[in-house]
């Protein structure tokens, strides 16, 4: 990854001015480069990682769902996947090697919402052979950031 992408991947809110100072490029060049990444779909979206457990009254569950599907002639998994990832409940969808085919990340306001998504929308699809639903109990780390409290750095504040 180049400099700009590496910095943005860690901090999407950084200003173009600071990017210029960090990379030694001028602002116009950086703006152009970013625009071009956006156009090419290299930069897909700027998002914020939120620790939902810290938000008062925030309810909601996340489930990881393993899906076994029947691949279709000529198009393999892609059409089945498209059929599934179009559901708005599906936040992420990956094709996986191993004992099942698709891994979904599904969010809902409670267990019942997710359960009814699985039983009413996902499982009845003719190309779906079976599903296994795992509800997430606790998030320790997300997007490279540890969400639980860790021991404090012992570095002395001033040394030679």
């Amino acid at each position: 990854m180049n400099d700009i992408l590496e910095i943005l991947a860690d901090n999407a809110r950084i200003s173009v001015g600071d990017l210029a100072k960090l990379t030694g490029k001028n602002k116009q060049t950086i703006e152009k480069e970013i625009k071009s990444y956006e156009n090419k779909g290299v930069i897909v979206k700027y998002k914020t990682v939120i620790n939902r457990e810290k938000i008062k009254d925030e309810k909601g569950v996340v489930a990881l769902i393993e899906v076994q599907v029947i691949p279709q002639k000529d198009v393999g998994f892609d059409t089945v996947a498209a059929r599934i990832y179009r559901f708005p409940e599906v936040k992420s969808c990956y094709l996986i090697s191993g004992t099942y085919d698709l891994l979904l990340v599904v969010e809902g306001k409670d267990i019942h919402t997710v359960a009814s998504f699985v039983s009413e929308k996902l499982a009845p699809l003719s190309s779906v052979k079976g599903t296994v639903t795992h509800f997430m109990l606790k998030k320790y780390k997300e997007d490279g950031v540890v969400l639980v409290k860790e021991g404090k750095n012992q570095r002395l504040a001033i040394t030679y």
């Binding site: 960090l22 570095r155 001033i158």
Partner: protein, 383 residues
């Protein structure tokens, strides 16, 4: 009760300031002399495995052969610098110990030793503990804090026993090109002076490449004690592991003292260091990050009016307060009390440097940005 020699080692006037900083919570400290990264995971994992394997004994005084061999191979590959792992490499508890051993091995009472200033605090102190005299070679901002050959020649005429070099430098970040080093060696080669070259920041060189002093020529190698370690480039300060490379006679003499005082470097750290030499990718990542921060902070410091020479290595800026007409301690205290930002007053690195502060950029970009805002706020008050 206390030995006169030890009592006479100038107590650092900075200690008091350090205590102030350490006693104050919520300070953004740009006064730290160590990386803000933690050691690469594979290094930590090797240390954990070493413990699980029950590696809790002493090692040979000289250090684990696997580590000496790995260092030898590393230097050969990187710098075409060949040291025999059997008798020309000694593993020490950090470069600090290696430096102490080197000085005690070659310096006798009343000898003279050249120390380039601004200097890392341990250099003059340990020379004085050997009852030797320090000849200061003071560098100037106008020369980019580099050694002035004329001044070097002058000091060499006093027949010093040794010269201590440190590049990239703490506190200035300055380093030397191949040609500049050649010129220094040309002058040194005329005399019988031993070169103690502390190159602990070697991995953190941002412009051009690093050239170990010992790599200049076979003769230079014979006269140089090359000191290096894992603390800075590999972010392993707490492991306390470094190494000294020199000719067989010097290493054997250093090992004599080492075997009586430290005995050996910790075995867990030595094993972790073997692994560290394989972690070049992580070292490169850290270097890239420091370089970005350097580019940011140097530009900003110069913009707000603290004139700063572009450091070519390490993670320090040595910034001038000349325009402000304020002493370094006063400035550091004001910055601490008023804005809760800590920097190290220049006098810690030589009494002539009272109009400088050392600013460490081994800190997150957010902290560096916030510090600049606060420094600017203080400057607008005192200017």
């Amino acid at each position: 009760m206390i030995s006169k020699i030890v009592e006479q080692v100038s107590p650092s006037g900075i200690r008091e300031f350090f205590d102030l900083v350490l006693g104050m919570p919520e300070v953004i400290s740009l006064g730290v002399g160590e990386p803000d990264f933690i050691s690469p995971w594979r290094v930590r994992e090797r240390a954990i495995t070493a413990l699980e394997e029950g590696m809790t004994s002493y090692t040979s005084n000289q250090g684990l052969f696997v580590l000496r061999r790995a260092i030898s191979n590393h230097l050969k590959k990187k710098y075409s610098l060949a040291y025999n792992p059997e008798e020309e490499i000694l593993i020490t508890a950090g470069v600090s110990e290696g430096f102490d051993l080197a000085v005690r091995t070659v310096v006798e009472p009343k000898d003279k030793v050249i120390v380039v200033s601004p200097y890392y605090v341990a250099y003059p102190a340990l020379v004085q503990i050997c009852s030797a005299k320090v000849l200061y070679l003071t560098t100037r901002q106008e020369d980019g804090f580099k050694i002035d050959p004329k001044q070097l020649s002058k000091l060499l005429s006093q027949n010093p026993k040794a010269i201590i070099l440190n590049y990239p430098s703490n506190p200035t970040g300055v380093t030397y090109s191949y040609e500049e080093l050649k010129e220094i060696w040309r002058l040194l080669s005329k005399k019988e002076v031993i070169v103690i070259s502390d190159e602990i920041y070697e991995e953190l060189t941002y412009e051009g490449s690093h050239h170990p002093f010992a790599s200049l020529s076979q003769k230079a190698k014979m006269r140089t004690v090359f000191l290096n370690g894992f603390s800075k480039g590999y972010a392993m300060t707490g492991f306390r592991v470094g190494y000294a490379c020199a000719n067989r006679r010097i290493i054997s003499a250093m090992n004599k003292i080492h075997s009586y005082s430290a005995l050996c470097a910790p075995i867990i750290s030595q094993l972790a260091a073997v692994e560290a030499l394989q972690a070049q990718r992580q070292v490169n990542q850290m270097r890239n990050e420091y370089k970005r921060r350097r580019d940011f902070i140097v530009k900003e410091l110069n913009r707000v009016g603290l004139s700063t020479v572009m450091p070519e290595g390490a993670f320090y800026c040595f910034s001038s307060l000349k325009k402000l007409k304020i002493k370094s301690m006063e400035f550091a205290k004001k910055l601490l009390y008023d804005q809760k930002v800590a920097v190290v007053p220049g006098t810690a690195f030589g009494k002539e440097f009272d109009c400088y502060v050392r600013i460490s950029y081994a800190n997150s970009l957010d902290n560096l940005k916030e510090s600049i805002v606060r420094i600017e706020a203080l400057l607008s008050k005192i200017c």
